[in-house]
């Protein structure tokens, strides 16, 4: 007799989402594009310093307030542009979805994440930072113990920079307060440029996961973590080997969890949500978190456009996200596992086919119309960051394509495309942090609005630029529908 399967398919729900931003204006100069440009034109460095914004301005920047949940994405429609010129009244560094952290505290958090004495901080700077971190609600005594007595004299830092090629770290424009060292004399994979990418990713991911634990009390119940960032952890024998998910989980005290990383460029978070939902639905695990830290390399990526337009350099944040997936609790929004859309290898690369596979086909399989979707969540890049560089308004482009497809299908007429795009789309509000910007910034808002009854159904679809790695000309994409929970009725 064949025993009954213990893995009958169950509903998976998204219980909550948390977000994290670290405002790091002094790290911008070390982003990939700024590093290369400053090397060829050293005079540019002063522009990076002069075009910083202070922390309170970063907090009151409307897109950042949307990201942490203090504003709704649709609030941006009534916010005057350029957004950077108008401070959000009563802006707060804390929000219902997470927080925005200043650079000094984030450097302290990075040091807490540093198990190998890679990040070196100056003694007095570290002492002041400890005072700030001691009052942070998500930092514990054992975190502070990792910092106590770790500060070094400035002369030591200067020596590391001059003699070992360590990466200098600054605050307030040009005040040297630390450095990032290499971790192996010969290994190109353990140089400061890569290690600081990974450390910032780990620290921002850990903060997002700590917020998730604090908000949902899931620290001990999490069994599996899926990392979906774009970092590559490893040494010369295993570049990109991972496992950032587990490293982040350790920092968030998830003692009962293991994990692994899912790699798919920008659409990795949506892949990870689908995979995590499968783990829960199959009964393998009951509580899974999808987690990602931010992208250091993308800091200041479009600075040329910002300088040209007399703007501050606004690509100055490292972002994180954590998503809690669980068994059906009869109230949280359900990940419709029969709604998964995917860009298959044989799909081709025309936009029409990509949208057909990610948007239309999943709806047809469920006998739904495009007008049955309250909001479409796509690439949510803040247009204020991309338009000045000539990269266009990516969310708007995508929403117009969706609207056009709805018109071609006869669900709306041609004159309604703009109205459809506005009603079922959003203005972009995400920092240009690659995987972070790809559909998932909407998730927190969608969970909240579906649970309150404001929305019924949201389709998430994300695209990934696989061709950037020069291993294939293919792009990628996946999608799913998040729907209100009918409580088992």
């Amino acid at each position: 007799m064949i025993p009954e399967s213990k893995t009958a398919q169950k509903n998976t729900v998204i219980k909550g989402v948390t977000y994290f931003l670290a405002h790091v204006p002094n790290m911008v100069r070390h982003g990939s594009k700024p590093t290369r440009e400053i090397e060829s034109t050293p005079n540019l460095l002063k522009d990076f310093i002069e075009h910083q914004i202070p922390f309170d301005k970063a907090v009151s920047y409307a897109p950042n307030q949307v990201y942490i949940g203090n504003l709704d994405p649709d609030d941006l429609r009534s916010t005057p542009m350029p957004w950077w010129k108008y401070d959000v009244p009563s802006a707060n560094r804390q929000g219902p979805f997470g927080e925005i952290m200043p650079e000094e505290e984030f450097l302290g958090m990075m040091k807490i994440c540093d198990e190998f004495e890679i990040l070196i901080l100056e003694k007095y700077f570290l002492e002041n930072t400890i005072l700030q971190l001691k009052i942070h609600p998500l930092l514990e005594d054992k975190d502070i113990e990792k910092l106590d007595g770790k500060g070094v004299p400035l002369s030591q830092i200067e020596k590391f920079i001059e003699q070992e090629g360590a990466m200098p770290l600054y605050i307030k424009g040009d005040k040297l307060i630390g450095c990032c060292r290499r971790a192996h004399e010969e290994d190109f994979n353990l140089i400061p440029d890569i290690l600081i990418e990974n450390l910032t990713n780990k620290a921002s991911g850990a903060m997002a996961l700590r917020h998730l634990n604090a908000k949902f009390g899931c620290q001990d119940s999490l069994e599996y973590l899926i990392g979906c960032g774009e970092e590559a952890v490893g040494d010369r024998y295993n570049r990109g080997g991972g496992n950032m998910a587990k490293a982040i989980g350790e920092l968030a005290n998830c003692q009962n969890a293991t994990g692994s990383d899912t790699k798919a460029f920008c659409c990795a978070p949506v892949h990870a949500i689908i995979l995590g939902s499968g783990l829960i639905s199959s009964g393998i695990f009951n509580n899974v978190a999808v987690v990602a830290g931010g992208s250091f390399a993308k800091l200041g990526m479009k600075f040329r456009g910002h300088l040209k337009n007399g703007m501050p350099i606004l690509e100055d944040v490292i972002a994180g996200i954590a998503i809690l997936l669980g068994e059906d609790d009869k109230k949280s929004p359900v990940v419709r596992l029969d709604s998964i859309g995917k860009h298959s290898i044989g799909t081709g690369s025309s936009q029409q086919m990509i949208f057909e596979k990610l948007v239309v086909e999943p709806l047809e399989n469920l006998n739904l119309q495009m007008t049955d979707i309250d909001k479409f969540a796509t690439e949510m890049h803040n247009p204020e960051l991309t338009v000045p560089q000539g990269s266009g308004d990516v969310p708007r482009t995508n929403y117009r394509i969706i609207g056009s497809i709805a018109a071609i299908r006869g669900e709306i007429n041609k004159t309604q495309i703009e109205e459809f795009s506005e009603m079922r789309g959003m203005l972009g509000f995400s920092p240009t942090q690659g995987h972070i910007a790809s559909a998932v910034p909407v998730l927190g808002h969608a969970v909240r609005d579906i649970m309150s009854g404001k929305m019924k159904r949201v389709q998430f679809f994300a695209k990934g630029s696989l061709f950037l790695g020069r291993m294939t000309q293919l792009s990628d994409g996946v999608s799913f529908i998040l729907e209100g929970n009918n409580g088992g009725d």
Binding site: G348, S349, S350, Q351, E379, H381, T386, Q389, G390, S391, G392, V394, T397, N398, T432, G434, A437, K463, S465, F467, L468, Q473, S475
Partner: protein, 42 residues
């Protein structure tokens, strides 16, 4: 523009028209793609 017999450099965009899609159009018009790239501008 007559593409027949011309050598073509193609730069597509992920959120617009991707390189291979332009390549297919160029080939059907008798052009000869010599370089096909897709860029991601975000």
């Amino acid at each position: 523009m007559e593409l027949k017999g011309k050598k073509i450099i193609i730069v597509g965009e992920r959120d617009g028209v991707q390189g291979p899609a332009i390549e297919a159009c160029v080939k059907s018009a008798g052009g000869e793609p010599v370089l096909v790239q897709t860029q991601c501008f975000v």
